[in-house]
Every structure is written in C-alpha cells, then in structure tokens.
Symmetry: D3
Subunit: 257 residues, 6 copies
Amino acid sequence: MSSDVNITRLDAFTYRERLAAQPQPPILIPVGAIEQHGPHMPLGVDMLLSTRMAELAAERIGALVGPTVTTGYKSQQRSGGGNHLIGSFGFDAATVIGICQTLVRELTRHGARRIVFVNGHYENYQFIYEGVDLALREIGDQDAPSVMILSYWDFVTEEVIAQLYPDGFPGWDVEHGGVMETSLMLEYFPEQVAMDRVMDLPPADLPLYDLLPVDPSLTPSSGCLSSGLAASADKGRILAESIVSGIAESITGRFGM
Amino acid sequence: MSSDVNITRLDAFTYRERLAAQPQPPILIPVGAIEQHGPHMPLGVDMLLSTRMAELAAERIGALVGPTVTTGYKSQQRSGGGNHLIGSFGFDAATVIGICQTLVRELTRHGARRIVFVNGHYENYQFIYEGVDLALREIGDQDAPSVMILSYWDFVTEEVIAQLYPDGFPGWDVEHGGVMETSLMLEYFPEQVAMDRVMDLPPADLPLYDLLPVDPSLTPSSGCLSSGLAASADKGRILAESIVSGIAESITGRFGM
Amino acid sequence: MSSDVNITRLDAFTYRERLAAQPQPPILIPVGAIEQHGPHMPLGVDMLLSTRMAELAAERIGALVGPTVTTGYKSQQRSGGGNHLIGSFGFDAATVIGICQTLVRELTRHGARRIVFVNGHYENYQFIYEGVDLALREIGDQDAPSVMILSYWDFVTEEVIAQLYPDGFPGWDVEHGGVMETSLMLEYFPEQVAMDRVMDLPPADLPLYDLLPVDPSLTPSSGCLSSGLAASADKGRILAESIVSGIAESITGRFGM
Amino acid sequence: MSSDVNITRLDAFTYRERLAAQPQPPILIPVGAIEQHGPHMPLGVDMLLSTRMAELAAERIGALVGPTVTTGYKSQQRSGGGNHLIGSFGFDAATVIGICQTLVRELTRHGARRIVFVNGHYENYQFIYEGVDLALREIGDQDAPSVMILSYWDFVTEEVIAQLYPDGFPGWDVEHGGVMETSLMLEYFPEQVAMDRVMDLPPADLPLYDLLPVDPSLTPSSGCLSSGLAASADKGRILAESIVSGIAESITGRFGM
Amino acid sequence: MSSDVNITRLDAFTYRERLAAQPQPPILIPVGAIEQHGPHMPLGVDMLLSTRMAELAAERIGALVGPTVTTGYKSQQRSGGGNHLIGSFGFDAATVIGICQTLVRELTRHGARRIVFVNGHYENYQFIYEGVDLALREIGDQDAPSVMILSYWDFVTEEVIAQLYPDGFPGWDVEHGGVMETSLMLEYFPEQVAMDRVMDLPPADLPLYDLLPVDPSLTPSSGCLSSGLAASADKGRILAESIVSGIAESITGRFGM
Amino acid sequence: MSSDVNITRLDAFTYRERLAAQPQPPILIPVGAIEQHGPHMPLGVDMLLSTRMAELAAERIGALVGPTVTTGYKSQQRSGGGNHLIGSFGFDAATVIGICQTLVRELTRHGARRIVFVNGHYENYQFIYEGVDLALREIGDQDAPSVMILSYWDFVTEEVIAQLYPDGFPGWDVEHGGVMETSLMLEYFPEQVAMDRVMDLPPADLPLYDLLPVDPSLTPSSGCLSSGLAASADKGRILAESIVSGIAESITGRFGM
C-alpha cells in the first residue's frame, strides 16, 4: 500500500509519515467533472484523466495526490456542449468554490505547504482560483501554503500540437470529446472507450458569445464539439508525455525540488 | 460497458436509454467521506463501501448508481474520532448540503423520478437531508422526484447483530474503524486492509456530549473508536448481505418495483 | 432580580458582575423549536423543556442560562412527525447554524470561557455542532472558549429507562409527543398539558429511511410518534431528576468546578 | 388554553382550527433583541415589549401572535449604545433576514394570508423588510400572503409625545433605555425594572454619523442614550394605549376586518 | 490628472503616492442607486449626487473619493416609491453588504486608515453598516481602519430646513424626487433635469407601516413622494453648501485633520 | 435627454416608453472593474471602455445600455497583474455573481426580453455566466429572457490582429495595459491617458499556471503585462470599429433585428 501516491488509498498513519518527509511532497488535487462526452466515452472522463495524469506526475517527482474533485462547474456550450444535456452534472460556482477552499484549509491543517490543483474540466478554472483565494485569505499570510493552479492541456507543447494537428489546431475549448480527450482515454482507459460509437461530425460552429438559455441546435448531436475519429492511443501517449512531464517540471521548478 | 450500473462509467447516450426504460430505474447516490480509519484502512473507506454496496443493491433491482459524494461532513469525535486528526477532510455543512441539493436538481433535470441517497459516513445524514429538502423546495411540488435517504448500517438486522457481536453491540457510532467497517472492507477490498496493522485498543470511552475544541485524549491513539481485530471477511459477507438485501428490499418496497 | 440564572432577565450590569466571578460560571444555551406536539401539548414544548432543564441544572452548579434558541431545524418524520404538518416551523440549516455561531461569537466577546448547548429538539444537533465549529474556526485557537454540546434525553439513565418503560424502550426518536415529553411537561408546565386530549394511538411504524416529499400516511394522525397516555408528573419528576443531575454532573466534571 | 392568542402556547390542533376561521385571523410576529438596557432593565426588554404589545393588539382584533424573534440585529451606537457592550447579542444581517424569511414561508405553508411583523428593536427594521421580500419572491405572486411591517414606537401619536415630553421630544433613536422603554416596562413588567438603579445621565450627544469601530466614549456609562428617571407606569399606560390601539387600527384598516 | 480627487480617474502610481501622504487622506465612498425619480430626473440621481457631494467635500479637505457604489438596495415605498416600479434596480441586502465589505477590505489592503461612506439612497444605510461591520470583524482589531458612515441629508442644518421649507418640513423619506433632490440636481446636473416634466402632485399619504407586496395605489403616479415643482438651483446651492460643509467638518473633526 | 442610449441618464418614464417599443430594444450591460492599469492609465479603464463600446454598439442598432457593473472580479496575475497590487479592487465571486443575477432579475421584471453582457475585464467572464445562469433558473423557463454574454476583445477580427500586431499577437491575456487597451483609451478618452508615463518594459514572462499567494516578481513593475508604447488613437479607431461592429452584428444576427 505504501508506495501508492494517492492518499485516498493510504491509511492515515502512512499519510502522516509521508507528509513528515523532508522535503515535504507537494499534494496534487485533480479536479474533474461528471459530464457527457458523446456516445463513445463515459461521463467520468474529466475526473479519470485529471486523476491519472496527476498520479503519473506525482510518481515522477515524489509528490502525493489528494482527493479528486468530481463536482465540476456547469458544462458550457462553447467548451462542453452545454449544461442542458442529459448526463452532465453542473454544480454551482458556490459549491465548486467551497470544495476547493475546504481542501486548501484541510491540507493546511494537515501541515501541507505546497498544493497543486490539476484541472481537467475547462469550466472549473476560475472557481478553483476563487476557492484557493478565499482559503488563503482565511488562513492568513503567515500560515499560507503555496498553491499552484493549472489546467492540464496548457502543458501540451507547440511541437506536439503541430505534430498531432497537422491541419491546424482548433483550440482547446472545442476539444470537448475530440481527438485529445479521446486519445488520452485510449492511452489510459481503453476499456472505457468505444471507438465504433464515435460520431464523426464536423466541429461545432459556435458564435463569439454564450447564449442562455442555450440554443441546443448549436451543439452537434454527438454532444462533442469536434470529432474524436482521428484519436489513437499513440496520440494519447504523445499528449500524455507532454502533459505529465510539463506538469512535473513546472512543479519541481517552482518548488525547487 | 452497457451492463454497468454506475453511470460515471456509462456514456451519455447509454445513460439516456437507461433512464428512458419503463419502469424507470431508481438512481442510488453513494455518500462517503475522506477520513482517517486507523492504521489498517485507507482514507477512502466510507466512499468505497457506500459505492460498492449501492452498486450491489442496484444490480439486484435494476437500478443505477450516480456519482459518489466524497466530500463528507467533518469527522466528529464520538463517531469518527474527531476532525482534528490528520487524514480526515471535513467539509462544511454548506458544502455537503450544496452538493446533495445539486444532485437532486440535476437528476430531476435528467428526468429521474426516484433517487436514493446511500450514506456511508455517520456525520453526513442531516446535511444530506437538508440538501434534498432545499432541492425539493426549489423544484416545487409538481415536479418533485421521490427521494429516499438512508444510512447503510441501519439495515443490519437484529439477528446479524446478535450473531456478530455475541458480547453485546456497542452501537454504530463507536463502530468507526471497528469490526463492521473492517469486515466489510475485507469482504470487498481486502487488498486495502492491513490486518497486521490493527491496533487492538479498548473501545473509546466517550462522554454523553461533544466538546469543541476536541479533547484529543478522548480518541484512542489508533483513531478507531473500537478495535477491528475481530473483523473477518466472513463477517463482512454476513453484514454485506444483510445490508444489501435490506436496502434493495426497501427500495423495491417503497417504489413498488 | 439578581439571583436569577437566566441572563435575559438580568440587567447588563449584573450580568457583567456574574461573568466576572471566579471561577466564571458556564453559560448554558437552551435550544428548542416551535413544533407541533399533538393535540395535548403546545407548539413551544421543546423550547420550554430545554430552557427549564437548563435553568435547573444551572441553579445547581452556579451557572447561567443564555438566550433560548427557538428556531429549530425542520421537523423530520422519523423524529418529529414531519415538517409538512401545520404548526411546525422548520428553519433551514443555515439559519440554525448562523444563530449558534453568533451565540458563541458574542458570548466569547463578552468574555465567556465555557458554553454548553442544551438541545431539546432531536433534529437540531448537527446544526448546533456546525455553528459551534464555525464560530471556533473564526475565533481562532488562542481565544476559543470551551463548548459542550448535548441533547438532554441522552442523560436519562439506563435505570430510569428500565423503570419507566417496563415493556421495552422504543427509542428517543419516536418519543416525540410521547411519554417522556408529556411527563416532563406535566412536571414543569402542567397548565399547558391537556391529558384529556391525548390521542392514544399505536406508535408510528416508520421505515429505516427518510422519504421526501414525506408520505403523510406514515405519521399518526395525532402528530405524535407514540402515545403520551402513560405519562405522569411522577414519571416527569424521575426523568427530570435523571436529566438535570446528569447534565449538572457532566458540566462540573468537564470543567472541574 | 384555547383563548390564548400566542400560538406557541396553543396545541397544533387548536392552532389549525383558529387558522380555519373566517375571516382568518392575522398573525403578528414580535421582533425583539437581547440587548443591554442599562442597569435598571433586563436584557430581554425588546422581546418582552414587542411580544406583549403584539398580544394586546391581537386580543383586541381577534388576531394571533406567532413566535417571537429574539435574535435582533447588532446594537448600533446611535440607537442602542453599540454592539461593543457586554450584554448585547448582535446577530448578523443574514441571520435576522433568514429567520424572518422562514417565518413568512412557514406561515404561508400553514395557510396564513395576513402577517404583521411588530418590531421592537430599532436596528431590525431593514432586515425584517429584506426577509419578507425574499420570502415573497420565493413564494411567487400567486400565493403571496399580505405582510405588514411596523415598528411599535411609530404609533405613539403626536398628542402623546407632546403630553409626555413637555420639554421637547429627543427622537426615538436616543430613547434606548429612556423614558418610553422604561415606562412601558413599568406598565407591563414592573418586577423586572429597578428604578433605584436608573443612572440619571444627560442624553447622549451623538454625531450625525456612525463610527466603526465604535468610539466607546460616545455612549453614556449607563448604556442608555437618555435617562429613564422620568419614567412611570402612568406614562407607560398612555404610551401603551397609543401604540396598541394604533397597531390594532392599522391592521383592521388595512385588512378590512 | 493628478489634482483629481476621484481615484477611478487616477492612475495607480498617482493613487499610491496620494495614499503615502502624511497625514493620509481619508477616502470617501459614495453610495447611490439606480432608481426611478419621476419623469423629470434620470435613474442615476442617487449615484450622481452622492458622488458629486463626496468629491466636493473631498476637495475641501484634501481627501480622495473611491469607487461609487451604484448597486443600491431595493426602493421602498415609503422612501423611494417602491421596487415594483419599472426603472428601479433593487439589489438584495447580501449584495449591497458584500460590496461595502469588499471596499473596506480592499482599501485596508491598500493601506487606507480612514474611510467614509457617503450614502445618497435612504434604503442603503443599514446594509452599508453591516458591510463595514463584517469587514472589520474579518480584518481584526489590530489592523482595522476607522470608518464613518453617513447619509448626506442628515447634514442639512435646521436653519436651512427652516429657510427652504417655510411651510413645514415633510421629512427626508418623502423627499424622494422632491424639492431637495431636484434642487441639488439643478445645482449640479441641470442638463439632466426637465423641470417642465415635473408632475405637481400632492405629497404621498403613506401609512405608518410597509406593506408587501406593495399596494401600488399608495405611490403617486409620478413615482415621486412629493412635488419637485418648488425646486431651484438656488435652493440646491444652499442645500449643497450645508451638506458639503457639514460632511467636510465632520470628517476633519473626527479625524483631527 | 431622450436620444441617449444609457438608461441611467434617462428618466423612468422615457425608459418605459423605450422598453415598450416594437421590436423591443436589447439592453446591453457593460461589465468592468476598478483595477490598476499602469502609470499611464486610470483605474477605471475597464468600466470606461466597456461602457463606451456598449453605447456605440447600442447607438448603431437602436439598443439601450443599462447600469455599468464596476465591481470586477479580482485581478489575476496572468491577465491583470495580480490582486496584490495597490489600486486594484478585487470583488469576490459571490458579489460579481450576485450583481449580474440581480440585473437579469430586475431587467426581466421591467419587461426586458433581450439582455447582453459586454465584458471588459478578462477575469469576470465565468462569474457573469454564473450570475445569468442563476437568474434564469430562478426566473424559470417560461419567463426567461434571452441573454448573450461576450467579452469585447473576442470581436477583434483576425485581419485587425494581423494589421496591428505585425510581429505576432501575444494573446489577449497579456494585453493588460498594453497596445489594445491603451489605443482604445486614446481613441475614446485621450485626456485620461498619459503616454509620456508609459513604462516600456518587455512583456511579462508568465508561467503556465497561477500561483497563490502571488509571486510579485512575475509582474512587471509597471503593472502592465505588455508595453503600451506602440499604442495610438489610429490603432484604437481600427480596434474599436472591429469590436463595435462585431458586437452590433452579433446582436442583430442573434435577435433577428
């Protein structure tokens, strides 16, 4: 049990020993969502991917992984298809904020000095930020831990993008259910992907604004904003390596490990 | 993929098909916590057990299982050792309430008419209740689904208690990390239990009141309120059967399935 | 005026003198509700009983009694008949929490170092706990008072239970409007009890779960969960003595008075 | 019991009968505070007076009186001496608002169509208003009851003021602990007034603004903003008659009773 | 740019220099509303007037003016005609409180030690007070700035009232859209007043209580509570001088400038 | 007065007439912030620009402009330099959300059917979205207006970017205080720009993550994320035309005007 990096699988005594190590390991908090990802991938994609990549990065640098936040913010049409779709569970800002705030508060109580939120659901970012900010205000300058907040796709390098999207990169927002997510799932959780169910539709043609209530006709019938047909485990491996090594280096660089 | 009862492992299209079945399957929401459970069990015990038992009950009656709530209320000394212990993550009432409220709201938007919260962390109960109540107030009488709320240990029968605790039953609250939880873990997740690490201490001698700030000396040094030494997979099987069949019968009885 | 233990009947100068005594008297905060208690008892039972027993315990040990919290959490079907009944006033969790938090904050500002919440409404307990916890977090470790939280029926001894319920004790939850509450009212507020209006119905046969919206048919038509017919002032006296002395001893024991 | 106007002293069955009468009786909700009122009056003045006057008005017009709100907003220096004083319990806006909102929601659920908040603590008014407004927004136009909000001193007529304050009326705000409140207490609760403890100080000389943190030197050492020495039960009777009849007439006038 | 007193028109470097001056200038925060003011004045009256008078007072005493709060509390019938009227934007208590709390928090972070809220919308006062109080609680005694809260009309002297209202002063509450506001607008923003559109109706005859839902017939059809016909720029000048000098003197008097 | 598009400068009667027109004009709500923008531009840049561009777009298409939201979310280091800087006023998520929610609620009460939020502060977007979503949930499907949410810089076309940034476009986030904002200010508010105070520093070299507490050394000493030296009124005109026409066309296209 003791070599596991995910603290939810550690017992409390082992967790305390790990935290007492010098230098203290950073704790990575994956943040996902339960959200429709088309007919070919499960609702849990965002929590699965953020957790797995956080664990892999943690293994490389001797870090730990804390509880995964599964309660993602509402799916927005221009990045997740929209929260009108059945299968997406959209949590209010206040809830996402409150959970992240609590995690910082509790980890600080445990003695953690370095925390990293690893976001895997586009819509979450600002609410994670607010949760962290509120926690630090509450904790006060003197006792504040150092907290990094990142979204995993930002660590895909330009080179990888050029290699994987030879016809031009459509942007991370319309990647919902597309080549990147599907490839990463094929790499890590192939048994949860049904490539024969991919709906090969043109990418969503979305306006420069959000509209509420949503105009459902703007989301492709697949619920995906671009087609995952070109996905492959090979691409997933390239993406994953770019992401995991990028996150790992950012953490060690920042924290001087 | 399609025979899975846990919707986080289903794709959205399959989930929609399942919801469209007649009669519509109830959706069970496991509610756990991330909490210390002594030196012999992982922090995730409550979410693991509530999820597994919900899945088993769902399989028996053709129900579905929704996202597990992992953000449990603060560990209280008389039922979980206290939230001063490193390893426990205590969420505020507002957060637990907000999550449960959202789940009812979102499942209702999905068209679900029968929801069952399966609680696996003693401290959560009243906050689940409040979340459900607020959701139903917001939804209005006309569209309200029917929601059951239960804690799994309430379904252990008197007969099973008499059989497993021949020397007298100490009550569910001091069961934290004790024979029941350890036995259930041995039955379902034996690889996550280290029986050789059980600290065989006398049961906690707790007062008739809560004290805040906690007096740490009142919690045994194991963090468990009673010893898990007498636990076994056999006992786990007996307990599990009592619980799973009790929950299954309650649901079918209530919902006329 | 000056020998009164209830500070709402003291003037501020006397209150300040009392607080300045050495050792400082603990302050007991009764917590009740406004809730239907059948046709034979008034809506105010829970606030009346918690206040009176807090005052009697305070008199024995030289403590004070603070403002009674009258805004109880929603009546739940398995402990109070359900909040669908006309006559019950169910406050949201946030309100009950906020009031208890404020009382701890304000008493701490007054200089109080020992506070005891004396709960008289089953449903309140977790929300009192949360209010106290939030107050202590806000106040900080250095200035935190010591706070006890208890429900009065937990102090009825096994001996008294055996004596008063010779045919077996049904549990405190179904005691709503039953022998215990009615007997205590007969002891303390006989003019507010109409024994000729008791509806002698069988105890409620409630399931192992809560159901929302409530199934009204599960609550007896009296609104009481068991019959109060066997109540008497004599039983009330025995119960009261057990409770008041138990609370008094717990406080002096804990606070070394 | 049945002729009592205060529903906290009625049983639920009687309460329901009363509510079923035609025309339905309005329900008056007294709103007070727990606040220092100098050395000669108890902390409970505001809840005592608002409750008593509401009951007297209710008796005249066949109305009912609901639960007294005891959790008043923070004492402000220019109307209550300031919330820095020991003995005052200042509740946050959110709490006062939440309680009033709940009372409107619950009374509406009970079937009440006319509600009157009778305020007895200067600082409360805007928060009662907000609570009512939020409740009505939530309830919706179709089901909204009619709600009056008033402060009792506004019903003292010009004639009575001229009679009782022959040397000029200082304004209701500096009346805190002064002639009006003391006289009303002498009329209704003489046993809770100690006229020999009145501190006969000049009225507070307060600026045209509030200052926070409070400058304690601006509040007279009595905690009262003017002297209660000229108070008498006779004056109390005159004031009370003016107030109670004014409130009663306003209610019957508005509701066409 | 640098002689401007309004910091929203200063660059950050100049703002920092100003704050570094000794003695540090107080910062005045105007608080207004967007609210109907009859057919002859714009919705922005309250924010325009509070901002202008704060700026004029600031110029006299070397103070600064911070961002204007435009999100006023709901218009109430007895002081603003009622929030049922189209054109008024009524913000909830929580929002007004939150904004004022933030301003105190942020100004304190900037190093400001003296803050003055200059209210121009009757309904706001208690919510500004609460926002300030919550901010100071959060900041703690040690770092708390000194905060004044005032409403501008309280600084009109008795002499000015006698001069401008020779037939008797109706009270500030019914001044909504009347002689005072119209005269001040004529003095400061004559191009935004259309005197030919004044509806010369008798003053509102309002009861001694608020009624919710509002009885619209109680508000004059102009939306003003008294007629602005007698308004003039001359009166505006007299009022303005009384107010601006009164505010300026109160600030310098309090802060010993 | 009547040709003005900004309703805060309209009287209520004119506002009501405008709303009654067929087809009803959309209402544009500018959303800005009070935030440092270096030594050469005032704190009010974001509210000034969003308001002006909303007004210009409204003039072209016969729309109205509602109250400007000035209470922007906290400045973040990677888009605004960070909220540790003196001069920035960072409002909590809850406040920004509450204000936007209220505006939708109140405009809907006024009868508005089409609302457009025109964001001018990068950090605000998700909180505007949440405010709108909460308002629509509260209002209900039947009465929901149609709401567009946009950020103005998204309407700068690829052609304009290529023309104005011949050496490559650094991205909107690091545009804080740079060429775009400075040019737009020069076009609209030249008297509030001091080009001689521009600090010509290299663009900020920011990591792929946020760090809290902020590492102040990552923000250039100007507080701007890139240099505004290359700004000009000509560029401002080109940008403005691209933005204003883009917004105008999006609105007319969406609403079929």
